[in-house]
């Protein structure tokens, strides 16, 4: 199945207090591509993402999904057609893994029986043995397992768009790497248009086909992921330097941090 295009046209978002959080942002995501939004906290990434499923409404501009104005579409219908994964997972604590995954298809009126096979299939795809996990409650899962279920839930209604807000941010580095692979495998099997908000440059490079760098409510760079590291755009170079400073310091430790010399004391 083909994914959808998402187009932001001159999107602005002004907070009730008057501060401009997004300033005429224009961006087009092609079908079945993965776009990572990078930038500091407060740069407007999450707000931009939440506008796609109408969890936030732009105060200016227009969003088009597959060329159709989002503004004119029913929010509930739009949301059921879009997968949504967040850092805290947000699994419903009173529902089993199976019921969590089958929720959106059920909301759309599919019978539980027809969803049954798909739930098993999805759990398998995200690396959870259905026989073992489908009846478990969320509190019986580890953080990584919960995030797998969250991912399965976001795909259960054949959504063409997947919104991911720091999806793996709360996981330890190894689990995080595992989940990134799970996601890539899934997207190979069922292509989606993915919008990913992340703070992790490596994650963006690994998962995304395009990287969009944001600062102060504006897009300051929009590049194919393969060109991001070699870009000669000053903001990109600055960002990469800032992110990799820690590693650079480690590598160059002797020159960056000259050996400590005790000051001479004079009696």
């Amino acid at each position: 199945m083909l994914g959808s295009t998402i187009e932001f046209r001159e999107i602005s978002y002004r907070l009730p207090g008057g501060r401009l959080l997004l300033d005429r942002v224009s961006l087009k995501l092609e079908a079945d591509t993965t776009t990572a939004l990078l930038g500091r906290s407060g740069s407007g990434k999450t707000t931009l993402l939440r506008m796609v499923n109408r969890m936030a409404e732009p105060t200016g501009g227009e969003i088009l999904l597959e060329g159709r104005r989002l503004r004119n579409q029913d929010p509930v219908t739009v949301r059921r057609a879009i997968g949504y994964v967040i850092q805290e997972t947000g699994l419903f604590p009173h529902l089993t893994v199976e019921r969590n995954v089958s929720l959106v298809p059920e909301l759309k009126g599919e019978s539980p029986v027809s969803v049954d096979g798909r739930v098993a299939n999805l759990l398998q795809l995200v690396g959870l043995d259905p026989a073992q996990f489908r009846k478990r409650m969320p509190h019986e899962l580890s953080g990584g397992q919960r995030q797998r279920v969250g991912l399965a839930r976001a795909l259960a209604a054949d959504q063409k768009i997947l919104l991911m807000d720091e999806p793996f941010g709360a996981l330890d580095p190894l689990t995080r790497a595992e989940m990134q692979d799970v996601l890539l495998r899934l997207l190979e099997k069922m292509p989606k248009t993915v919008l990913l908000v992340t703070h992790d440059l490596d994650e963006a490079l690994y998962l995304a086909s395009h990287i969009v760098l944001m600062a102060d409510g504006q897009i300051i760079a929009n590049l194919p992921a393969s060109e991001f590291m070699t870009s000669d755009l000053p903001p990109v170079q600055e960002y990469v330097r800032a992110v990799h400073r820690g590693e650079a310091e480690k590598a160059d430790a002797p020159t960056v941090f000259p050996a400590y010399q005790a000051p001479e004391y004079r009696a």
Binding site: T77, I86, F92, P93, R153
Partner: protein, 213 residues
């Protein structure tokens, strides 16, 4: 002792049933009012403070005074059982309204947000997420209300509504301690029984992994 039970046994049973009947109706009516009211307050937070204040005030009226206020109300037509049930409902409102409100507001906002983002309508969020997650807390309110009502229902005998209070009042009037105990002990057992029973249900409804509010 044998003679006492031979004489009062059937009366004790009858009055116990009456006691349960009064309390049961009161809790049923109070629940039908309080849970929707509590839900309404979560949707309309500006109403919450004044409404909770009113319900709270009702709770502070001494029970005999409450019955006194209700006696002359034409709506209740001077019918003892109606007066008693109305008074009990007034006392049962607070714990149920408050816990419904607190229970729903205590649901993790992330969960509500996700429910919305997955495409649940406002009603689906309420019935599929908020109420199930608040059920344990709401039931705890129901439990408090029930125990309170079982206790206050003993006062209902003062307006002639019957219940186990009748034995207590008669015992006090005739200085017969056995009669007082014949009313007091079953009333206490009823309260304990209701508490234990609802306690078990509450435990079942509590969602694992969610700290009780």
């Amino acid at each position: 002792m044998k003679a006492f039970f031979a004489r009062y046994g059937s009366q004790i049973a009858e009055l116990t049933v009456e006691h349960i009947w009064l309390t049961g109706w009161a809790i049923l009516i109070a629940t039908l009012i309080s849970i929707p009211l509590g839900i309404l307050l979560t949707r309309n937070k500006r109403l919450a403070k004044p409404v909770l204040a009113v319900v709270n005030t009702l709770q502070t009226i001494p029970s005999l005074a409450m019955l006194g206020f209700l006696l002359p109300l034409p709506l209740l037509g001077g019918k003892a059982a109606r007066i008693a049930i109305t008074a009990l409902v007034a006392y049962a409102l607070l714990p149920i309204v408050r816990n419904t409100y607190a229970g729903i507001r205590g649901v993790d906002p992330t969960i509500i947000e996700v429910a919305k983002a997955l495409g649940m309508t406002s009603m689906q969020r309420l019935t599929r997420v908020e109420l199930p997650l608040a059920a344990g807390v709401i039931l705890a309110g129901l439990r408090t209300a029930t125990v309170t009502c079982v206790g206050i229902a003993t006062i209902a005998a003062a307006v002639g509504a019957g219940g186990l209070g009748e034995l207590i009042f008669r015992g006090v009037a005739s200085l017969d301690n056995r009669l007082v105990l014949a009313g007091a002990i079953p009333a206490a057992l009823l309260a304990l029984g209701a508490d234990a029973l609802l306690g078990i249900v509450e435990k079942k409804l509590r969602v694992p992994g969610r700290s009780p509010a």
